[in-house]
Subunit: 137 residues, 2 copies
């Protein structure tokens, strides 16, 4: 893997934490400030390269764009069902009975990254007690 200025800028942005768990698109618009000609494909390719070699982590969400995380320590996430913001959840707070699951299902469990759903503090305040907008896809 050769050095590239674009990849460096992408990693810099992720580590700067200006946005906490950005999607490829958010990385794109931000890195564009430094590299106005950068293409979205380049952002995707580099985010995937960095995720593949373990420099960053890819957070795959159901029905939403992948997010990228500079924190590669094992942990889970919770996503706001209203605004899509995601936040870390310590891995100690979710307990998976792997042995029983393997025994009952026959699957081998790869106690992967878990995504919980909920409402972030801002959306909670904004939407309650009014029924929140149903933006399921």
């Amino acid at each position: 893997m050769n050095y590239s200025r674009q990849r460096e800028a992408i990693l810099d942005f992720l580590r700067s934490m200006k946005v906490k768990h950005p999607s490829a698109d958010v990385v794109y618009v931000n890195v564009k400030k430094r590299f106005p000609n950068i293409s979205l494909g380049t952002v995707y390719r580099n985010l995937n390269l960095l995720a593949d070699n373990g420099t960053i982590a890819k957070v795959k969400l159901p029905s939403d764009a992948d997010r990228f995380d500079h924190n590669t320590e094992p942990h889970f996430h919770i996503i706001c069902e209203n605004c899509g913001q995601i936040e870390d959840v310590g891995s100690a707070l979710v307990n998976i009975d792997v042995v029983s699951i393997e025994k009952l299902s026959g699957f081998s469990v790869n106690a992967g990254r878990i995504v919980l759903k909920g409402l972030c503090p801002a959306c909670r305040k904004k939407l309650s007690p009014i029924k929140r907008k149903d933006n399921k896809k």
Copy 2:
């Protein structure tokens, strides 16, 4: 919601369990046997209608097509990373410390449906001890 023969056939197929957690596309090709002119849009619309009114459940997966489940009882799923097959996991086998998560993150938790990752029995046998094919997206 008016009666429709197509919707009835879709629900029949789901309940027949010929395929366990079918995607919209699998429902489509199967219901097509009874209704050769049915359109994929009709399948999607009806699956979503049935999921919205609680008759069936929609299982959203990261980086894979949604699946539909005739079983609406709360439970989790495990997906085979090799072949995409999904299996039920009893909700007792995953313990989420909702109180602590809410305290620490500020989110309200909607202890949603969780999807674990692993290898189904068939793929385990087929791929081990050979390194399994890496089909991440």
